[in-house]
Structures are given as C-alpha cells and as structure tokens.
C-alpha cells in the first residue's frame, strides 16, 4: 500500500472517531434517562393528572399544555416567518435597509431565551393585557422561533434554481404566481427542517414560558386561549427543584416524555422531507 493511501486510511479513521465523540454524549443521555425512568413510565403516567402534591399520578396536563403551546407557536411563527423570508428573498431590493433586517434576523437567534421571556411578559402579558395565558406564551415562543424559521426558509428559497423563476415569469406568470407555484413548493423540505428545529427548541424552553403562560400546578385542562397551562419543561423544573421529596424516577420519566415528543416531531419532519425529496429531480 502506498503511503498516500495509508495516510488517507488513517485520516478517515481519526475523522470517524471524532464523529463518534459527537454521538456518544447523546447516546449516554438517552441511555441514562431511559434507564432511570423505565420504572415510572406507564399508561397511567401519560394519561392522568398529578396527585398527592405531584408525588403520584401522571403528567397529562403538562403534555397537553406543551402540545398546545407548540401548535400555538407554529400558528404564529410559521406564516410570519415564511412570508418574511419570501419578502426578503423574492421581493426586497438589496439595499441598506434590507441588509439591516437580514443582520437583525441573524442576531435575534443569539439572544438568550430569558430575554425573550421578559420581553414577552412586558409586551404581551402586561402591555397588551393578555395576562398569563396560552396566547401570550405562544406569541413569546413564536418570536423566539422566528429567526431560525426565517433563516431556514431564506436558505431554502435561495437554493431553488433561478431558472424556475425565469421559466414562470417568461410565460407571463405574475411575481406572486411564480413564488407560489414555482418556488415555494421546492423550498418545502428546507422550510420543514427549520420549522421543526425551532419548534423542538421552543418545546423544551422554560425561560420564555416562565412568566407568560406556565402554571405551577393546574390539573384541569385549558378551556380557552386565555388560560394558563402546565408545560413539560417547567413542570420538570418544578418537580426537580421546587417541591421536596418527589421520587427521582418521576423527573426522569417526565424528561423521557419531553424528549420523546421532540423526537416524534423530528420523525414526522424526516418522513415528510423524504417524501418531498423523492420528487426533487434537478
């Protein structure tokens, strides 16, 4: 074997090892959680309300609360994010103003989540008088999700070949028809990835919902958008640090459910993406 090929083999081996280092922590976390929660996970745990000072029963209201928040967040952030990105990529001229917007979008994603939480509290809860509610919480999470959705959608739109737009325009389609039929459909996989990524993050955040929606203990389900809800990440925080003498296995089981939920969302996006990728032919 030549030395060049030897070197290549060694390089591949080292690179593989480094990649493995990325996988190991994830596997360890999952293993640890599964191992410690296995005793507490049951049908009862996911379908019943907490009882006896949260020491018994399940976490059903928190699961419902988190799902409601994810849906609420998506309803606000997806249209707003996608339309903003469409505007930036397809309509806006390249000038100082749009460059400023693009820069802001990039920088928004670096803001700590507690800042979003306080911002949402001031704007939605106090100023707009929405109170501590699903609406205020969803809006806060939506604002936090926007940068990632906008950035992902922008990249997805930019990766659609320019020729598709030229074909459509040259046939006499309007700008909007072109975007609607010849650009957006081909950007869906990228938009999906960005959306799920940012919603996964929103699902697991505590800080933004702390002052805007999360309830310490609220066993009944919400009846309107102005109700508070329990949510998995906040519930986890509460049972792990705020209430004494709660079995550790309950915390781990809550963790397990939260991770499972995020995993499920990612699975759905992977399936949808591969469905769309089959149609991609260019």
């Amino acid at each position: 074997m030549t030395t060049a090929r030897m070197r290549e083999k060694i390089a591949f081996f080292v690179l593989g090892l480094i990649t493995l280092l990325v996988v190991i922590p994830i596997l360890m976390i999952i293993f640890y959680i599964v191992k410690n929660s296995i005793g507490s996970i049951s049908w009862e745990f996911i379908t019943q309300s907490p009882r006896n000072g949260m020491k018994e029963g399940g976490i059903f209201p928190a699961i419902v609360g988190t799902i409601v928040l994810i849906i609420g967040t998506m309803l606000f952030s997806l249209p707003l994010g996608v339309l903003s990105a469409v505007y930036l990529v397809e309509y806006a001229r390249d000038n100082f103003f749009t460059r400023l917007i693009k820069l802001s979008v990039v920088n928004l994603s670096g803001i700590p989540s507690i800042v979003y939480g306080l911002f949402g509290f001031t704007l939605f809860v106090l100023f707009l008088k929405l109170g501590t509610s699903i609406l205020a919480g969803s809006l806060t999470l939506a604002i936090m999700s926007l940068p990632v959705i906008i950035t992902a959608t922008k990249e997805a739109l930019e990766s659609v070949p320019l020729s598709f737009r030229e074909i459509s325009l040259s046939l006499g389609a309007t700008k909007w028809q072109t975007v609607r039929y010849c650009v957006l459909p081909y950007a869906i996989p990228g938009i999906l990835t960005g959306t799920v990524l940012s919603l996964s993050r929103a699902a697991g955040e505590t800080a933004p919902i702390l002052f805007t929606v999360a309830a310490f203990y609220l066993p009944r389900l919400p009846r309107s958008l102005f109700d508070q809800v329990m949510a998995l990440p906040y519930h986890l925080y509460v049972i792990s640090t705020q209430v004494p003498n709660i079995p550790v296995s309950i915390s781990f089981a809550t963790c397990f459910v939260l991770i499972g939920l995020v995993f499920l969302m990612n699975l759905v996006s992977i399936i949808l993406r591969s469905h769309y990728r089959k149609k991609k032919l260019w």
Binding site: S163, E166, L169, L171, G172, A173, T174, Y186, L281, W282
Partner: protein
C-alpha cells in the same frame, strides 16, 4: 408589399452597471418572419432578446434607455406579465420544470386563468403537436419532463411557450446543445410555426441562420453591423467584419 412591423427599437442602449452592452440599436422586425441574429459571444444577442420581454430587469444592475415598441405600443406601457405572455422565449439550455410533461405545458394556461380540465388537455395536445413532439410523448404525458432527451426537452419548451398563445417567439441559441437530428426536427417545427408566429432566432451557428431565417442581423460588440435579407447577407455582405465573421475568420 409593405410588411407590418411587430417590434421596433429606437436608439436602444442597454447596460449592466457601467458596461454598455447594446449601443444605439435601431431595427424593425416584421410580422411572421424568422429574423436571424448572428454574432460572436458577448456581442449582446441575449441581452437584446431579453430586453424585448423585459427579463433583463430581473438583474438589479441592468438599465436601458431608448424605446422599444411592440405592436405600436411602447413597452413601458405594457404590464410585464401581459407582455411576456405575448412574447415567449426559449432559452439556450432546455429549461423544464421538475414536474410531468403535462404539467409543464399546463402551467402557462393555468396561470392565465384557464381552469377547465378538458380545455387544458386540448391545449396540451395542440401545443405538443405544433412543436412536433406529440407522437413521441402522447403515451407518457404524466412521466417527468426531465427524463426526456435534450432535443425533446427543447421541443417541450417550445410547446410550453405555444400554450400561452404568444405572437412572438424568441429563441436564444436554443439548438446549441443539441445533435444535428434534434436540430433538424426543431428547425422543421419552426418552419411550420411561421404561418402563425413571428420568430427571432439568435444562433451561434451561422449555417443555421442561413438555412432558417429570412432576414438576418449581424451583431458585434453591442452594435448592429449589418442587417439584410439572409441570402444577400451571406452571399454579398457589405461590411468587411460581416464577411470575416461568416467566412469564419473570427468569432
């Protein structure tokens, strides 16, 4: 016989940023003729075609002055989408959308408001027939357009343009990537389209211009050097530069 003018440019100047690409262009194109444009690379042929349907303006650095008239109307006073419906273009490389053959053609009529399924089916069939592609694809209209050969894709592009019922068709070196047999098929189709459409053919193949066009223009570095009946231009060019180009001494 007085010929009806379809397109007319008056002192047309086109620029990309500071680079002047077309200089003081004055020419007229007649109804139902095949108008050839020849010239070496970078002489502004593509820019000229794309000025006629205002596609150049997609590029932010583009600017133009002078006037272009289409059917006696100043281009400035025609909506982009109406203009582009009436002046179609075939690009150098076959540009098909990653959808079925049928949907490639149906797209144009649909964006212009035709919704009835049988109306669209009829348009698809007629357009494919006019582009001499129907017999080759009639059994697989639902298969992906990208699976067709290059020559078939280019005829599909012609059919797609015909489906929106234009008056003028612009061809931008549309045979440059094709083999002689595919080219011959496309040239046949163009001859049949002559009765209904005005066609402007930009080609880097002087023989093709000589074969297909009736009048022909020679562009060089953004200037119109010579414009004449094709037969005259190729047998007794008046300008030495035209002579040099068609005899293959440069370009």
């Amino acid at each position: 016989m007085v010929k009806e003018t379809v397109i007319k440019t008056v002192n047309l100047n086109c620029r990309y940023g500071a680079l002047q690409v077309l200089k003081d262009l004055n020419l007229e194109i007649h109804r139902n003729e095949i108008f050839g444009i020849i010239g070496p690379a970078n002489s502004g042929k593509t820019t000229f075609l794309r000025a006629l349907n205002r596609l150049n303006f997609l590029n932010a650095s583009y600017s133009q002055d002078g006037e272009i008239f289409f059917a006696d109307k100043n281009l400035k006073n025609i909506c982009d989408n109406i203009l582009r419906k009436r002046i179609g273009i075939i690009f150098a490389l076959p540009q098909v959308l990653p959808v079925s053959i049928y949907n490639n053609i149906a797209y144009g009529p649909k964006v212009h408001g035709i919704a009835k399924k049988d109306a669209i089916e009829q348009i698809v069939e007629e357009s494919l027939k006019k582009a001499s592609l129907w017999d080759e694809v009639k059994d697989r209209l639902d298969s992906p357009a990208m699976k067709l050969s290059g020559g078939q894709q280019q005829r599909l592009c012609i059919a797609r343009t015909l489906a929106v019922e234009p008056d003028v068709i612009l061809y931008d070196e549309h045979c440059s990537g094709l083999d002689p047999i595919s080219t011959a098929k496309i040239e046949d189709a163009m001859q049949q389209l002559k009765e209904t459409y005005t066609q402007i053919l930009v080609t880097n193949n002087t023989k093709q211009a000589a074969r297909v066009s009736e009048r022909c223009a020679f562009f060089l570095m953004g200037e119109l050097i010579e414009l004449d009946e094709t037969a005259a231009l190729f047998t007794e060019p008046k300008d030495k530069r035209t002579d040099d180009y068609i005899t293959g001494r440069f370009g």
